[in-house]
Amino acid sequence: MPEDDPDAALMPRIADGDPVAYRALVDRHTDRLLAFAERLVGDRASAEDVVQDAYLAVWRTAARWTPAAKVSTWMYRIARNAALDRLRRRRPTVDPETVVLVDTADRADRQISTRQTSAAVRGALDTLPERQRTAIVLVHYEQRSGAEAADVLGVSVEALESLLARGRRALRAALEGQRADLIGGEP
């Protein structure tokens, strides 16, 4: 049992149908879960659907939860699979023209605002393979430990580090121009 899991005590109460305990879980995790979902699926509406699916699943299946799984890890897993389902359903309608957001035009003429830079980061993140993207979102943005991120992905820590390194390398390549503009030097 994860001894340092602050949510473990809530789960038996949620399983008994206690809405107060359930709402405490919502207060603790909604910010992170929404950010995780939005960074995976790329848009707010789908992310909100993912989070609602995840919490409904938690409410309905709390009685099945066992302390072998850290509650937050379990919730990230549910949200990840719900996000994967939405990405799968969206795939046939994706227009490649709309996802190429990294501008490779002459940098000398560009004044890149923070908004444009973040859009470039968003676009570059979207082009990563899903496992690499999930690894980077969990570790860099959600600040989950390597061990917990590996658990969410169902891989070893060594495999997670490989996903992270490949993902960061791909992002660096995609964002080379933006990086030079941001730090004021040549790439």
Partner: protein, 152 residues
């Protein structure tokens, strides 16, 4: 005890970036000490930090008040399941279970007739309609034993 080498620090930078808080706790202190003693490694840390800054330009989404309300309302909405909602739609006097029971009986008869007269078995069609169900998915992963990844 783990032995952290310069190559291992480079691997940590490549995977986790420059913030030591993201490095594995067992290696963190040794890695920091090594960086402090090695100017070349310190330069690589600075380079990784600049890239972290770029990644951090992505804003952190915040849940809307409406989403928070909707999430907290899930127990209430879940309590009134589909049977309650159907009953609420029933426009006539009398219990709606009577015609519903008739429909169920007709469905059962139809399934029995269909299965016993069709050449296609249930096993043959089971894979055709498999779809994602977040409730079943969450239940399958709730024990923590055996990660289940939904594969599109």
């Amino acid at each position: 005890m783990t032995l952290v080498t310069a190559d291992r620090v480079r691997a940590l930078l490549a995977a986790y970036g420059a913030n030591p808080d993201r490095w594995p706790s067992a290696e963190r202190d040794d890695a920091r000490r090594l960086v402090a003693l090695d100017p070349a490694l310190a330069a690589e840390v600075a380079d990784a930090a600049a890239f972290d800054t770029l990644l951090d330009t992505l804003p952190t989404p915040a849940p809307s008040p409406a989403l928070r309300v909707a999430l907290k309302d899930i127990p209430e909405r879940a309590r009134f399941g589909w049977t309650d909602r159907l009953a609420g739609l029933w426009p006539f006097f009398g219990a709606p279970w009577r015609p519903a029971a008739g429909l169920v009986a007709a469905a059962v008869i139809g399934i029995v007739v269909g299965v016993t007269t069709s050449d296609v078995s249930v096993a043959d069609t089971a894979g055709l309609y498999a779809d994602y169900d977040p409730i079943a998915d969450a239940a399958a992963m709730a024990s923590g034993a055996g990660f289940v990844e939904f594969l599109p």
